[in-house]
């Protein structure tokens, strides 16, 4: 048996806490706390306007003060919403969680979803993902539209803010425009973390441009590694530093026994050591059951192998992920350099 490789970077682990819908806060709070006990980087919560369930961002806002460290990543759809409201809500999730927010943009492709709003007909995924990319773009601009330190409280001049540190975004998209600046000052992480499921071609095109984390699905480590390389190449082609894109393999899991949990740890460890990905996003069939076994069975084995950290070294989701605070695209606007 080969000795365990010492990884250069800790394995990233995340879990979905969706499952069948619940309508009480304590259900989701308990799951997020469980995941936090297992030092997972973040939890995801899916959403859609077309199936029973509470608003995912609202649920994770409710969870935020009941947790300390874990990242909180709701699905946020962009097709029938106002981009300005979306950027405000995600920024606010970052404020109330003190830097632990992410968001996972999604689109609504069905006629049934369109009928709930009655504003526009259903459209092809390619068009909607084009729009979702524009929403991600304008959200980033709005988050940057207040420079850090814009609030000055300068009593002699009576100025609460330095207006030179606030910026109009003047975004003109295909289906919407936004003047800006944001109402919400720049959130603690600069930009909350963007997570995109890069399985289908249209969201994959969005992921290589806008995602901090791309989720991929693969049958074996070699296929995952290939996908990861493709995503990194395409990110590079868009002028991005591929080191700032984390690729996580998204795996469905069902854990019935401790043996299952240990088996999952073996699989995760082996895939990771073969360079399949920088981490894993686990999608439990039954979160209450599976997460308990994951945290008490899988996590300790990975920690014992030296692959998974035993505590959170930082406070924000970006710190968990080893990602720097986002740079501000407007911060040097107007300066001579």
């Amino acid at each position: 048996m080969p000795p365990p490789r010492t990884p250069t970077r800790p394995l990233h682990l995340a879990a979905d806490i969706g499952g069948s819908p619940h309508y009480e806060a304590r259900h989701y709070t308990a799951l997020a706390r469980l995941a936090e006990r297992g030092t997972l980087d973040f939890v995801t919560l899916g959403d859609s306007f077309a199936r029973p369930g509470l608003d995912a961002l609202a649920v994770l806002a409710r969870v935020a003060p009941a947790t300390e460290r874990i990242g909180l990543v709701p699905t946020v759809t962009t097709t029938h919403t106002e981009p300005f409201h979306v950027s405000s809500a995600v920024a606010t999730l970052d404020w109330v969680s003190r830097g632990r927010a992410g968001w996972s943009p999604e689109v609504s492709t069905t006629e049934a979803e369109a009928a709930l709003f009655g504003r526009r007909p259903a459209a092809p995924a390619a068009d909607l993902w084009h729009e979702a990319r524009e929403v991600a773009d304008v959200a980033g601009r709005l988050w940057d539209s207040w420079e850090d330190g814009a609030e000055i409280r300068d009593e002699p001049t009576g100025r609460f803010i330095d207006r030179d540190k606030l910026h109009y975004v003047d975004f003109e998209g295909r289906t919407f425009s936004v003047r800006g600046p944001a109402i919400v000052p720049r959130p603690p992480q600069g930009h909350p973390v963007t997570v995109i499921d890069a399985t289908a071609p249209e969201p994959r095109a969005a992921a290589v441009r806008h995602a901090d984390i791309a989720l991929v699905r693969a049958e074996d480590p070699a296929a995952a590694r290939e996908l990861r390389e493709e995503l990194r190449d395409r990110a590079r082609a868009h002028g991005r530093d591929p080191e700032r894109l984390r690729v996580l393999v998204s795996l469905p899991v069902q854990l019935h026994t401790t043996a299952d949990a240990v088996g999952l740890a073996t699989l995760i460890g082996d895939w990771y050591e073969q360079g399949a990905a920088e981490g894993f996003h686990l999608r439990p069939a039954e979160p209450e059951r599976d997460l308990a076994l994951l945290v008490d069975g899988t996590v300790p084995v990975l920690q014992h192998r030296g692959l998974l950290r035993r505590f959170y070294p930082g406070a924000t989701l970006r710190e968990h992920l080893g990602l720097a605070r986002a740079a501000n695209q407007y911060a040097h606007a107007g300066s001579p350099s």
């Binding site: 029973p52 806002a61 606030l166 109402i183």
Partner: protein, 430 residues
């Protein structure tokens, strides 16, 4: 039983109420500030916590207005988080009906109601402002008359959605066909703990009063003086019967400020000092420019009002509700300034304040009680001038006196905001 008072706490926000330069003034954004004020309100057994909304930063003379507090987090998300750190306090968000859609907003409020165990409230506001519309898909085309019909249909549609699940907990299809919305499908959220989140409406105009009487659970008003309050109260309550509602089905709550001192004289002195700090020299000129619609930066804030007339066509101010006919306002200001010998800044201080209860804790408790027993209000939305500690003294010193007088609860009688307000759970329709 003595008529009971309702109390709410407004998180001081984007206006010149906040004395942001005070050394005790903390962040308007950090969650800890919201936690402090909400927990203080809950310690005082308040009915609810109230957040305003901003959708576009105000501009003055074509530039972002920089003299008052600017920026705030998004209300529904903040309230979702506050639900985790409070148990009884109602959680009210101001959300615009013009720049939202009924399905999404009904879902967000129903979610908050579930996540808070029945404490959600929605302050419905409208806008017809193309300036604000520049941040939204919708733009700003809605005219003034349409915004009320849209808001009324919006609230009615939201209630159809809130009622759409069966008592057994399965979704039923809904279909709404109206002037502003034609939507159908299934709602994703079961009926919430309150049935319907509490609906708040600001209503000073005739249309607003009618809308409130037909639809709202609480009307939020600026009628602060005793006489104006009694007139408004009698008028709005008299409109309820034609909608099959009882006077107690709608609570009238003016937004008011307060200043406490150990003596009445000390409180008056503090109040005058606070007003001077709220209306800085720079702010006084801006307030003047907002009426006159002209650049008046050359005027001395401690000198007399300008002799030139307002420019009624001015586009100088954006993002703030217009205060009416500028000539009439200017004439009123001039008359006041002459009669009392007031400078520009003193005139602004005199004319821009809202109803304020000033005095010792005992005197403020007596004034508040008088308002409620004289049917000038059912309660108050208190707007402190400091964030987040501005309610501490009120809760520690005034609330116990109100409780001694028997006009305010000593414990919550139920878990939901409707139970605090004495409002019944709405009957399920359909």
């Amino acid at each position: 039983m003595t008529k009971q008072m309702h109390l709410a706490a407004h998180f001081p926000g984007v206006n010149n109420t906040t004395v942001w330069a005070d050394p005790r003034s903390r962040s308007q954004i950090d969650f800890s500030s919201f936690v402090h004020l909400a927990r203080t309100a809950e310690r005082g057994r308040f009915d609810f916590f109230f957040l305003a909304e901003g959708l576009r930063l105000r501009e003055h003379k074509g530039r972002i207005h920089d003299l008052d507090v600017v920026g705030r987090p998004e209300s529904l998300t903040v309230l979702g988080a506050l639900a985790a750190v409070t148990e009884h306090l109602g959680l009210a968000a101001t959300v615009n009906a013009t720049f939202n859609e009924p399905y999404e907003l009904a879902r967000r409020f129903a979610s908050l109601d579930h996540l808070s165990g029945g404490r959600a409230a929605w302050n419905v506001v409208t806008s017809f402002d193309a300036f604000t519309g520049e941040n939204f898909r919708r733009g700003g085309y809605l005219d003034r008359a349409d915004r009320y019909t849209r808001a009324a249909e919006f609230v009615a549609t939201a209630r159809e959605l809130w009622d759409s699940w069966t008592p057994e907990g399965t979704p039923r299809p809904f279909a709404h066909q109206g002037q502003h919305f034609s939507i159908s499908g299934e709602f994703t959220v079961p009926r919430s703990p309150q049935g319907h989140p509490v609906v708040i409406q600001a209503g000073d105009s005739g249309e607003g009063r009618e809308f409130a009487a037909s639809t709202a659970d609480i009307v939020f008003t600026r009628h602060g003086t005793l006489e104006a309050g009694r007139e408004f109260y009698a008028d709005v309550k008299s409109r309820l019967a034609k909608y099959g509602r009882r006077p107690e089905d709608l609570k009238i709550m003016p937004g008011v400020t307060f200043v406490l001192g150990d003596t009445d004289a000390e409180a008056q002195e503090k109040a005058a000092d606070i007003r001077r700090r709220q209306v800085s020299a720079q702010n006084a000129i801006v307030a003047l420019e907002q009426i006159w619609g002209r650049d008046l930066s050359a005027y001395d804030p401690d000198g007399p009002l300008p002799e030139i007339d307002p420019d009624p066509e001015s586009e100088l101010v954006k993002g703030r509700v217009k205060v009416g006919d500028p000539f009439a306002v200017a004439a009123k200001w001039r008359a006041l300034s002459e009669a009392k010998g007031l400078s520009i800044r003193q005139t602004v201080i005199e004319t821009t304040g809202r109803q304020s209860f000033i005095g010792t804790p005992a005197s403020v408790a007596a004034q508040l009680t008088e308002f409620v027993t004289a049917d000038a209000a059912d309660g108050f939305i208190l707007v402190p001038h400091l964030t987040p500690g501005g309610l501490d003294d009120f809760v520690d010193r005034v609330v116990p006196l109100l409780q001694e007088r028997g006009v305010f609860r000593t414990e919550y009688s139920g878990p939901t905001l409707r139970s605090h307000l004495g409002l019944p759970t709405p009957v399920r329709k359909g």
